[in-house]
């Protein structure tokens, strides 16, 4: 028996068009049912979720950002316990917390910038938060107990490996981002064009009222 001959025309173009048609229909249906959302650290985007270990005064435990959402806004502060500016930011955050605690949830992401002398650890993060006796803050030149401001009562997340900071495009520390209660970014310190000359204190005053 001789081998049957294929069709005269090349059906692959038709097959491709048919496949793309099916995919287009399925894709459009999916977009209608559930529009894709933009995830990222910029204003108007949904903040990237993360799961990392965190310290809230007792033990280091697994912490997931989206599980922390309640009916309050969220102030995310990226700090490096060895960063001199973050040393001073400790006092600013203490003051902000005492003013806005009822309306704003505070979360600090403790990073370790790739700078000589910045050598953080969980012990140092605990001491920075709690203001306890530990030589090593401020590039190793200060005892953490001397940090300006009061002890912090909110959650500190371990991001020594910078995985969250990279995902959130953090340019340096201290760095702040404010989320609404649904996790949408409503203020990003890096987007100063949207709110000229506004620092985190002024932003909270404007957003919380």
């Amino acid at each position: 028996m001789s081998e049957p001959k294929g069709k005269d025309e090349d059906v692959r173009v038709i097959a491709l068009l048919a496949t793309l048609g099916v995919v287009t229909i399925v894709g459009l249906a999916a977009i209608i049912v559930s529009p894709p959302v933009k995830v990222g650290p910029l204003e108007g985007e949904i903040a990237p979720d993360f799961i990392e270990n965190a310290y809230s005064g007792a033990e280091w435990e697994s912490f997931r950002l989206t599980e922390a959402y309640d009916d309050r806004m969220i102030l995310i502060s990226f700090l490096d316990t060895d960063c001199p500016h973050c040393w001073d930011e400790g006092a600013t955050l203490s003051n902000l917390h005492s003013t806005y605690n009822n309306d704003v949830q505070f979360i600090t992401i403790a990073v370790q910038l790739s700078i000589t002398g910045h050598d953080s650890s969980r012990e140092e993060i605990e001491a920075f938060r709690d203001k306890t006796n530990y030589e090593g803050c401020y590039s190793g030149s200060q005892n953490c107990v001397n940090r300006p401001g009061s002890a912090h009562s909110w959650t500190y997340v371990d991001d020594i490996d910078l995985s969250i900071a990279k995902n959130w495009d953090v340019p340096g520390t201290p760095f702040s981002i404010i989320l609404d209660s649904n996790g949408e970014v409503i203020w990003n310190q890096a987007q100063s064009d949207n709110h000229p000359n506004e620092d985190v204190e002024q932003a909270l005053a404007r957003l919380v009222g």
Partner: protein, 189 residues
């Protein structure tokens, strides 16, 4: 909780799709010549379509989870549920691309290959396209194993819609394996 998750009408629809694909494929074994080849191709087309649809469905779940509104799709507790799998930010994407999108793109390519063969089983390129479909399907196996490993050992939950996608790929590979066998046994036409 497991029983209620498995009783989801949408999941049952996908399971029905898999069963239909398997049935169509099974009919090819008893048919000789081009009739059996076409049956095997129909089976592979169905597997690819079910895989595409289930992958897109997991993408929908992904989007709902990001918006924090997934109660319609996923139970919040139990071993068999999607929220803990598709919603886990550590494992739910490949370089930022949701796995559902990756799966949909992969099944689109597989669908194109077998649809082309189905539309002209006697074409000169049919044999090479069968091989492309085989190797493209095999390329998905490492990803499948990784994702099953994540479900079993990292997240400790099973997402049934993800499993539908995985089984679709396995079924697709089985159908292409049968097609290759028909080619090698001179039973293609």
């Amino acid at each position: 909780m497991m029983a209620s998750a498995l009783a989801d009408p949408k999941l049952l629809l996908f399971i029905a799709g898999l069963l239909a694909s398997t049935y169509v494929l099974s009919t090819s074994r008893s048919k000789a010549g081009v009739e059996g080849t076409v049956a095997a191709l129909n089976g592979s087309l169905l597997f690819a379509t079910v895989g595409l649809a289930s992958a897109v469905w997991t993408w929908i779940i992904h989007n709902q989870l990001v918006m924090g509104d997934a109660t319609e799709f996923c139970a919040s507790e139990g071993i068999v549920q999607c929220g803990s799998v598709i919603g886990d930010p550590r494992y739910n994407n490949l370089f930022g691309v949701p796995w559902g999108v990756v799966g949909a793109l992969a099944f689109t390519a597989l669908l194109f290959l077998v649809l082309s063969i189905r539309m002209d089983v006697h074409a000169k390129w049919a044999e090479s396209y069968t091989n492309y479909a085989w190797y493209a399907g095999l390329a998905g196996i490492p990803f499948l194993l990784y994702l099953v490993g994540v479900e079993a050992f990292a997240v400790h939950h099973i997402c049934p819609f993800c499993t539908i996608s995985h089984l679709s790929l396995v079924g697709f590979l089985g159908s292409v394996w049968l097609l290759k066998g028909r080619r090698e046994n001179k039973n293609w036409y």
